[in-house]
Symmetry: C2
Subunit: 143 residues, 2 copies
């Protein structure tokens, strides 16, 4: 039951919450021992803050929950490939695993030649279509 699709669906529900708030629809959850310890969605417009990406909020929230700044034995599920800022934060967090829904060829960290912490496993392509489509639908509505 608790497979990658299960937790990515939780992250996707966060992206849907962002969509409803007219925010770029990206969501994520952080999981430790099959429990969600943090969940968040993009709030850059609501908070008027470019740093309020889903991942940044979840990293802070997860570390608060754990009582330490490193996200050891944790997995982040995020609907869209993290940007440079969020990849840098994930790198500092030494998170164990990052599972990505859709790739972001233009703004994602992978095509910038960046990598996360050497300890961090990265998996891509979980619920890729849904995670990609919700972002495309959002920007189509904006035009």
């Amino acid at each position: 039951m608790f497979n990658d699709e299960y937790f990515m669906r939780m992250a996707f529900q966060e992206a849907q919450l962002a969509f409803e708030k007219d925010e770029v629809p990206i969501g994520c959850v952080i999981v430790s021992n099959d429990r969600i310890i943090a969940k968040s969605h993009n709030l850059t417009e609501t908070l008027n803050d470019v740093t309020a990406h889903a991942e940044m909020q979840a990293i802070t929230s997860g570390a608060n929950y754990l009582g330490g700044k490193y996200l050891q034995n944790c997995t982040m599920y995020v609907t869209l490939e993290p940007c440079v800022m969020c990849a840098g934060a994930l790198s500092w967090s030494q998170i164990t695993k990052v599972v990505i829904g859709a790739r972001d060829e233009q703004r994602g960290f992978i095509n910038k030649g960046l990598s996360l912490h050497p300890k961090t496993e990265v998996v891509t392509g979980i619920m890729e279509n849904e995670c990609s489509t919700i972002v495309k639908d959002f920007f189509r509505n904006k035009r």
Copy 2:
């Protein structure tokens, strides 16, 4: 009077506050029209949060002050070259100018091949010795 050295000294005073709290001594200020609108220092240990770099806090704080998420007509003075996370955040902020004290060859964004927003001017080497020495002194005390 209000030259780069003047504002870098204000950022350096923030780094000194971090040093006194046993935090890696990095400080920054954001200036708009010759006024400091945000100042901060690294608080990653105090807050148990890898995202609590001086620059991240100042970007959020500066945007709050301005009432918008873009740091237009703003200059950040930061004692150490920003890391990948902070460079990514600065890039999203579209800040006008970033003035750097000392380079960080290992963890700074420049040697990672990253650049900030195309609009952003970058200046390095202001109070370089003092900004570099305080970090070296901090880590020497740790050994």
